[in-house]
Amino acid sequence: MKSSSRLLAWFFLVLWFAWIHALQERLSVNETFALATPDLGMVFFVGLLGVVRKNDLFLVAILAAICRKSFSVEPGLAILCGFLALAWLASLLREMVELSSPLWRAVLAGLGALGLSLWLEVVQFTRVGVSLPPLDVLIALAFTSGLAALAIGGFSIRLPGLTPLRAED
């Protein structure tokens, strides 16, 4: 694979992450979707975890974190920590299960969305001392994210410009 096409693919990845997070941000302030908005950034990220090269996992996580921070006031380091933890978990799971299967993708996206939200809430709680949000909000987020991953997660790697990132196996 030419390195220039891979470089272009990384650029496209940032572009897609940016637009997906922007869409998620717009949906989360929309009165109709609000708390039922799936974590689309996480769905896209998990969709990639099962199909990109193992060596690329952590770079994907770093780019996902930077793009999410562009649309969030959560602490950047905490976001980075959340995505890197998920990439680490995925690198372990890939040796045991088929992460690119729809079911595993849905489970990982649901748990990832729940885990990341919970982690960011804990960070907020530790820093400013406000109470944690009700669990039903987080469970709704996990459920809609899992459903979204089941329905559209498989399209992640098929988005224009990303093919060079696919693992050749």
Partner: protein
């Protein structure tokens, strides 16, 4: 090969743990370096700029509305603040004579040392350590020393555990008529904390035991420094009360009408009378254009649905600092969160944890009331109202239990980076002295804005160190 992979995973895991710890307990120096990783976020937010075009009509309409209201709301706020400043002066004629009065505003209080506040004064000429500080007819504390910046002083509050001031209470019979000599004692520090988070001043070494109630006034012994003793004499410290402890003994303490923890906004430094003007007041600087940095928002909301924040298009290189107020017109939009070199976070008022010192204009009352600190609990998804936690530590008139008072809320003093007089919203205030959750209605247009201003404040010069040292050694 497998061993190498295992080692790499272990190193990675250790790095993850370090990241997690730093997320929970940030270290500013490390945080500054990590912020560099997120510099591209400024550019990435621009990549989706076409999305903003879809709602540009709503944004322009909201900005026009806020701009149109600005003149009226600013005028109302300026009038209110002028009254607030005046209400810091003593009301009893006896307390007005023989003293030079220098007005000051509490600028910041340290989270670590609540018994010392930093005050910006109209003039530091003639201000020396130990001069008494008051607000209205109430005694507040003493000047500790000059601050590191011009026109700034540090004030030790009477709540400090090492603070002592002479005081007296008149002995009265059952009809309230004075009998015999008044009882003298020392006041300073806080009495043991009661359950309802109210603060009471402690009382020590009474000249006569058994006195249970009555108004307490400053009565410094003249042998200390006759001039200083005379300046503070007659100012009130509060009302003497007697509580029954669990063990059955009686605990005398003083209930002050002031909220020393977060509701002290305007103060007066008392100095000996001289040729200078008898009363010197601060100028209001909130609505001076040069004190604000113009910027815009890059996003409309946050990807996390439980947060209310936006990204700002300027960062620390443009002078943005964590905690600064963000406003448009006379409306407070939020406060600056984390800052990177090129972009920063704007934390909205609906974001849980935002802290504000608040001044209330209560319907039917001539002067505004400092409410103290409000902590944001979040925004209601049903009606868009804001929830705040407020510990009422002041008397709000003669309202009956359960009665609510309609009020407009403005920013007060004492929160670093937030100027006084920015409009927050409307509310109904409960009147009982205990913790409450109050609902505030904010103008919905405030959430639609793109063009905003960040408070940088008037330019302050650092004071030469020799002068600061001189001020600290009276």
């Amino acid at each position: 090969m497998i061993r190498d992979l295992g080692r790499r995973r272990t190193i990675y895991f250790v790095l993850l743990v370090v990241c997690a710890v730093l997320s929970l307990r940030p270290i500013p120096l490390v945080g500054g370096v990590i912020e560099l990783v997120f510099v591209p976020t400024r550019l990435i937010a621009e990549l989706v700029a076409p999305l903003a075009w879809l709602r540009s009509g709503e944004v322009r309409a909201a900005e026009r509305q806020i701009d149109a209201e600005a003149r009226v709301v600013r005028g109302a706020a300026a009038d209110l603040l002028a009254i607030e400043q005046q209400s810091a002066l003593p009301t009893r004629p006896k307390l007005l004579v023989g003293r030079r009065m220098i007005h000051g505003e509490v600028i910041r209080r340290s989270r670590g040392d609540l018994d010392r506040v930093e005050v910006r004064v109209a003039s530091t000429e003639g201000i020396v350590p130990d001069l008494p500080v008051i607000t209205g007819d109430q005694y507040v504390g003493r000047v500790a020393r000059l601050g590191n910046q011009e026109n700034m002083i540090l004030v030790d509050l009477v709540t400090g555990k090492d603070f002592f001031v002479g005081a007296s209470v008149a002995r009265t019979d059952w009809r309230g008529e004075a009998i015999g000599e008044s009882v003298e004692f020392v006041v300073g520090g806080l009495a043991p904390r009661s359950m309802d988070e109210q603060l009471h001043l402690a009382l020590h070494n009474p000249s006569l035991r058994g006195i249970k109630k009555g108004p307490v006034h400053v009565f410094e012994p003249a042998d200390m420094d006759p001039e200083l003793a005379e300046l503070s004499r007659g100012f009130s410290l509060g009302e003497l009360q007697t509580l029954q402890t669990i063990s059955g003994s009686e605990l005398p303490l003083i209930q002050s009408p002031l909220d020393f923890k977060s509701g002290l906004f305007q103060v007066i430094v008392l100095a000996p009378e001289d040729k200078a003007s008898a009363v010197e007041m601060l100028q209001l600087e909130t609505f001076v254009e040069d004190n604000w940095i113009r910027t815009s928002t890059l996003t409309r909301g946050d990807v996390t649905p439980t947060r209310e924040g936006r990204r700002l298009a300027r960062g620390s290189l443009a002078g943005l600092r964590t905690g600064q107020a963000v406003a448009l017109g006379a409306h407070l939009v939020g406060r600056v969160g984390e800052t990177g070199p090129l972009a920063a976070d704007l934390i909205g008022l609906g974001d849980p944890g935002v802290r504000l010192a608040v001044l209330a204009e209560i319907e039917g009352e001539a002067s505004p009331r400092p409410l103290g600190e409000l902590v944001a609990l979040g925004r209601s998804r049903h009606d868009g109202s804001l929830g705040f936690r407020w510990i009422c530590r002041i008397d709000l008139g003669e309202a009956r239990e359960g009665e609510l008072l309609e009020a407009d809320l403005y920013t007060g003093s004492g929160e670093d980076g937030v100027p006084r007089g920015l409009f927050i919203g409307e509310t109904e205030l409960p009147t009982t002295r205990r913790p409450h959750e109050i609902t505030v209605w904010q103008d919905p247009a405030v959430r639609e804005l793109e063009r905003v201003f960040v408070w940088k404040g008037p330019e302050v010069k650092r004071r030469p160190e020799s002068v600061t040292r001189l001020g600290g050694t009276r």
